[in-house]
Amino acid sequence: MNSREIIARRVALEFQDGDVVNLGIGIPTLAANYLPEGVQITLQSENGMLGMGPAAEPEQATNDLTDAGGNPVTILPGGCFFDSSVSFGLIRGGHVDKTVLGALEVDANGNLANWMIPGKRVPGMGGAMDLVTGARKVIVAMEHVNRNGSPKILQDCKLPLTAKNRVSLIVTNLAVISVKKGGGLVLEELAPEVSAEEVIEQTGAPLEISPNLKPMPILD
């Protein structure tokens, strides 16, 4: 199982039947492939849809039905469409149960930085700030360290924030870490063949070890 699959499979276990979920592009989107049996979720796409389905086949593709990446997609039975102001009303108003996003950095206070690197890359925040501010539960799904092997989980984010104090769970290829209300990180689960020491070493903030520390329940 590769890193992406480990993360996606573990994120999928966070979903409960009936949840409305917005998934960021990349690893978060993969999570929808690993839903536990009996769990049905409704995908919200911030460009204006609930009940988003799989990518459209070439012959049904239209620019009037696209996902948040602009790619032709489908809608499932029971879904519906709305404009951007309503879409972000749903997001900001707490009508999205969970959002899963990638991060450049996430910190011990649940702060998230995922939208810009000053002087280097300023793509714009898109819908990320609203999603992280408004969704009931914010889950970060990412590789534990960056390409240079440096920690992405820090005591304090150095990059410009996406939102403050909003992340409550971090799922990586190495571990599941929860963020305590009021701050502080707790190591909850370990990926297959990963030790607590390894996780501590690759994390840029102190980790409390959960008394119930366990392996990620992803192997089935």
């Binding site: 460009n47 009037d64 972000f88 009303g89």
Partner: protein, 217 residues
């Protein structure tokens, strides 16, 4: 009844150099490509463009920015248009970014006669720079001001001759709020039908807001 159906050339001729133009759409989804490209063809200059994004290769707004018609951009995402990124490096004031939900509310406020709205989005981030913060029941909000434009260019699937619009699927995006927020509104549509053919329950945008209807590709 006044005629509202025009060619792209006629409808876009009324746009002036220096105008602030709002363009509906979300990347290639639900964009009014024909009338945006007509801005390029007519060589309109010094435009301000408000749009969700500045497109990716192949998008009309992408080409508009590359063609040099645009001096100033208001958007939430510019990551797939290197020319916009370059504008921002050369002159940081030329590109203004807002969170997507904030941008939608700012435009809606402009069209709905509100002065602005209070949003929690952006609190504690660089988005709050220069903005008034208001605390209500212990929670902080940013005051984000209304935004209006001279022109809105929007896309719909069907129009009747009175300008009533039906938009399909995810193409509603920014097209709906922008229809309220500009002095001159052009709708690009696939199909134009006589008045009375559309079910009043299904109309996405009231025809009284629309000044010009252009049949698109």
């Amino acid at each position: 009844m006044k005629n509202k159906v025009f060619s792209a050339q006629e409808a876009v001729a009324r746009v002036k150099d220096g105008d602030h133009v709002m363009v509906g759409g979300f990347l290639q989804g639900g964009t009014p490509d024909v009338i945006v490209r007509e801005l390029i063809r007519q060589g309109k200059k010094n435009l301000t463009v408000t749009s969700n994004d500045t497109g990716r290769e192949g998008c009309a707004v992408y080409d508009l920015v590359f063609a040099g018609n645009v001096d100033r951009i208001i958007a939430d995402y510019i990551g797939l248009n290197p020319r916009t990124g370059q504008m921002m490096i050369e002159n940081p004031d030329s590109v203004q970014l807002f969170p997507q939900g904030t941008l939608a509310e700012k435009i809606r406020a402009g069209g709905f006669g509100l002065g602005g709205i209070l949003t929690p989005t952006g609190v504690g981030t660089i988005v709050e720079q220069g903005k008034e913060k208001i605390t209500i029941d212990g929670k902080e909000y940013l005051l984000e001001l209304a935004l209006r434009a001279d022109v809105a260019m929007i896309r719909a699937h069907t129009a009747d001759e009175a300008g009533n619009l039906i938009i399909r699927g995810t193409a509603r995006n920014f097209n709906v709020v922008m229809a309220f927020a500009a002095d001159y509104v052009i709708a690009e549509v696939d199909e134009i039908v006589p008045v009375g053919e559309l079910d009043p329950d299904q109309i996405t945008i009231p025809g009284t807001l629309i000044d010009a209807i252009v049949k698109g590709g």
